[in-house]
């Protein structure tokens, strides 16, 4: 069947009344997204009545970097169903930057409705180079479009657009546009715009006055400070709030305190009042100002103004300023309120993130909660912060048997990190847990402890009937990595279980247990080729000279990789001990072994082999001749030839 036939068939299938059939068809079509016809079909499939299928199409299109996707989606920006329209916007935001020319062309051609969304999409790219496309629409007849352009320019914050914003402020009679442009000028302008903006401080219109104060605060030039003082006394409360916020901003920029002449309590009062404003932005400004200017203790008072919905914004905005001080505010919030479990989880984890140790009261308050998320966060806090006392130990003994797997898992972590030996039995019991995450956490905790009691218990497990448990035990003993486990690992080298032999030799190698070399030697004759290779590398790294003839014998092994590894690692035994063997390999027909030896030659050990290398430089195998010629180049540089 030709591709075209398949696509025609799939086009028909897309009309199926069965959503499942259409879903499968969409998935099939995703294999042909280099075909514009298929893209057309997929874009059309955005109209599918099944939401899941619509999402599926959107995710395919968002990963299809073809200009046709952009072209075909543009008409959907005015589609009657807002869900489809939003999908189109979201896809274009994801891929449109690659095809900006198509968007710009559409911006010129399309109606205002589509224009508005294209501007929104271009704004989302936040690319200063695109300011040129936006500026053209700053004098558009449709105020919605102008508003969107101003918003985009403000986000870019580049000085080049400031003259255009100024012109707009001078020209427009639309109050909302003037206000938006003043705000944008604050973000894009510089001190040369202070005098221009100053006129609005004395305007009768409080909205213009407010935005000018905000903008002047952003500009941060101190010559406006006296004007702020002048208008302060007679200003509305909200204007006073903005003046204080702006004075703090300007002060910050100029490393000065322009609030000195105000009574500190009064400033605090004004800022706390600002927290009462409906506008979340003002509220956040005020919090920021409080943090910058005031003692952090005042933040506690701000909590009464912060709703549960706003708390995430609140902490995310302030967290970067001083994690530790913010922590005490969060603590009080957790103690004073009754909160949903996801907020408690979020806030406790935040406290843990900033290593806030004073959380005993929080543990007391929430320790009886049945909510898994709260139990998880308490467990994590106890574990990570190391809050260990009778109360928290009691909680851990309860949580380690909790019905929720994740709680058991985090309890195991907490026990391990804090070396709570009295829970070793409970941790071993978790090795039978139905959840793999819980079993892994228990092993991790036991490995961390790694004491005599733990080692003995793992050794007992080596006698278990369960092969998987044996493997886990040997793995854990390897991770523990203390000398006490060496005899057990050595014994396990002759286990009938291949995985156990492999893990044992790997662990001994990591532990640099040179005294185990004689026992590892037997693995050079293991039935498993991979184990032979690991044993070869280990013995060569140990420089265990008695192993040399055995490694040489591996050069005739039936497995080519065993031969290669033997040749590759021979030199590690020391050139003086293997020189003759290396020469024999270089003179042999085994190309892989020759290559292995060549790759192992280092700067300091070329010399004994120069003559033979000169013969090999024209070897018919290009990998060999290339490697040899590289080595010879280095020999030349060092004056060896």
């Amino acid at each position: 069947m030709e591709n075209a036939d398949i696509i025609s068939y799939l086009e028909e299938e897309l009309k199926s009344p069965e959503p499942k059939v259409r879903e499968q068809t969409i998935e099939e079509l995703s294999n042909f997204t280099d075909n514009p016809e298929v893209i057309k079909l997929l874009v059309k499939a955005l109209e599918d009545e099944n939401r899941f299928n619509q999402d599926l199409v959107a995710s395919i299109l968002a990963q299809t970097y073809m200009p046709e996707v952009v072209e075909y989606l543009i008409p959907y920006l005015e589609y009657r169903d807002f869900f489809v329209r939003n999908l189109a916007i979201s896809i274009l935001k994801q891929i449109g930057d690659n095809f900006i020319d198509i968007l710009v062309e559409a911006l010129e051609k399309e109606n205002n409705h589509i224009k508005l969304f294209i501007i929104e999409i271009i704004n989302s790219f936040k690319n200063p180079e695109y300011a040129q496309y936006l500026l053209k629409y700053l004098d558009n007849d449709d105020p919605n479009i102008v508003f969107a352009v101003i918003e985009g320019l403000a986000n870019l914050g580049i000085n080049e657009v400031a003259p255009e914003l100024k012109k707009l402020i001078e020209k427009t009679d639309e109050e909302a546009l003037k206000i938006a442009a003043i705000n944008a000028l604050g973000k894009c302008g510089d001190c040369s715009y202070v005098d221009f903006l100053k006129q609005f401080l004395y305007s009768d219109n409080p909205f213009l006055m407010f935005s000018a104060i905000d903008a002047l605060g952003f500009l941060g030039c101190d010559r406006i400070v006296d004007d702020f003082y002048k208008i302060f006394e007679d200003a509305y409360d909200i204007i006073k709030e903005m003046i204080i916020i702006s004075l703090i901003r300007i002060g910050k920029k100029n490393n000065a305190d322009y609030l000195k002449q105000f009574d500190k309590e009064n400033v605090k009062h004004i800022l706390l009042n600002a927290m009462d404003e409906d506008d979340i932005q003002i509220k956040l400004y005020a919090i920021e100002a409080l943090v910058d200017y005031m003692d952090f203790e005042v933040l506690d008072k701000t909590l009464q103004y912060i709703s549960e919905n706003e708390i995430k914004d609140f902490v995310n905005n302030l967290f970067i300023k001083d994690r530790r001080k913010i922590a005490s505010v969060i603590k009080n919030y957790l103690l004073d309120r009754t909160l949903s479990s996801d907020i408690v989880y979020f806030l406790i984890n935040l406290l843990v993130d900033c290593n806030y140790l004073y959380i005993n009261e929080i543990i007391d308050k929430y320790s009886d909660s049945d909510e898994p998320l709260i139990k998880e966060s308490i467990c994590f806090a106890i574990g990570k912060l190391g809050i260990i006392n009778q109360k928290t130990k009691g909680l851990l003994s309860k949580f380690i048997k909790d019905e929720v797997g994740n709680v058991r898992k985090i309890a195991a972590n907490a026990i391990g990190w804090n070396y709570l030996e009295e829970f070793v039995d409970e941790l071993f019991a978790l090795l039978d847990d139905p959840f793999i995450d819980v079993r892994e956490a228990a092993i991790g905790a036991l490995v961390f402890m790694g004491n005599k009691k733990v080692i003995d218990r793992f050794i007992e497990l080596l006698n278990s009937e369960d092969d998987n448990l044996k493997v886990e035990a040997i793995k854990a003993l390897g991770w523990i990595g203390v000398r006490d486990v060496i005899p057990v690992l050595e014994e396990s080298l002759s286990s009938p279980n291949r995985e156990i032999r492999k893990l044992s030799v790997e662990a001994l190698a990591r532990m640099d247990s040179k005294e185990s070399a004689e026992k590892i030697l037997q693995l050079l004759y293991d039935e498993d080729d991979q184990i032979k290779q690991i044993a070869t590398v280990t013995l060569a790294n140990f420089k265990y000279i008695p192993a040399i003839p055995h490694v040489i014998s591996l050069l005739s092994d039936s497995n080519m990789w065993v031969r290669y590894i033997a040749a590759r690692n021979l030199i590690l035994f020391g050139v003086e001990n293997v020189e003759e063997y290396v020469k024999q390999i270089l003179a042999s027909d085994d190309e892989l072994a020759i290559l292995g030896v060549l790759q192992s030659l280092e700067d300091e050990n070329y010399e004994p082999f120069i003559n033979i290398l000169l013969i090999l430089k024209d070897h018919q195998n290009s990998d060999i001749s290339l490697t040899v010629n590289n080595i010879l180049e280095k020999c030349k540089e060092k004056g060896l030839i």
Binding site: N355, L357, F380, M449, I480
Partner: protein, 112 residues
């Protein structure tokens, strides 16, 4: 185990090399104690030359973490070799320590 100390922007960088096991305890603890005594609080441990960490080595690290935290300090690690990273993952200490890819990244985050 060898421990060399450098200071960069108020961050004490400990370049560790060798095997982090029970034998490293005295050396590493003494180094940290000396720095804390002199008022240093921000530590960044360079693990690029550490090729092995045993259980006691991990316990040493966690006890150092607790000691530094008690003094209101911070500690982070960077450049963990693959095997050492595996040990941290097995014991889930990746959730306890801040771990970075490079010195620059570590310093930047610790200075925040």
């Amino acid at each position: 185990m060898n421990v060399n100390v450098r200071e960069k922007d108020g961050v004490f960088i400990l370049d560790l090399s060798g095997r982090l096991d029970i034998n490293a305890s005295d050396k590493i603890n003494k180094t940290v104690d000396d720095i804390l005594e002199k008022g240093g609080k921000i530590f960044l441990m360079n693990f690029s030359e550490v090729d092995f960490v045993s259980s006691p080595g991990l316990v040493i690290l966690v006890s150092i973490l607790k000691k530094i935290r008690k003094e209101q300090g911070r500690i982070a690690l960077f450049n963990l070799q693959s095997y050492v990273r595996e040990v941290f993952e097995v014991t889930q200490l990746t959730k306890v320590f801040e771990i970075f890819e490079s010195e620059e990244e570590g310093i930047k985050s610790l200075k925040e």
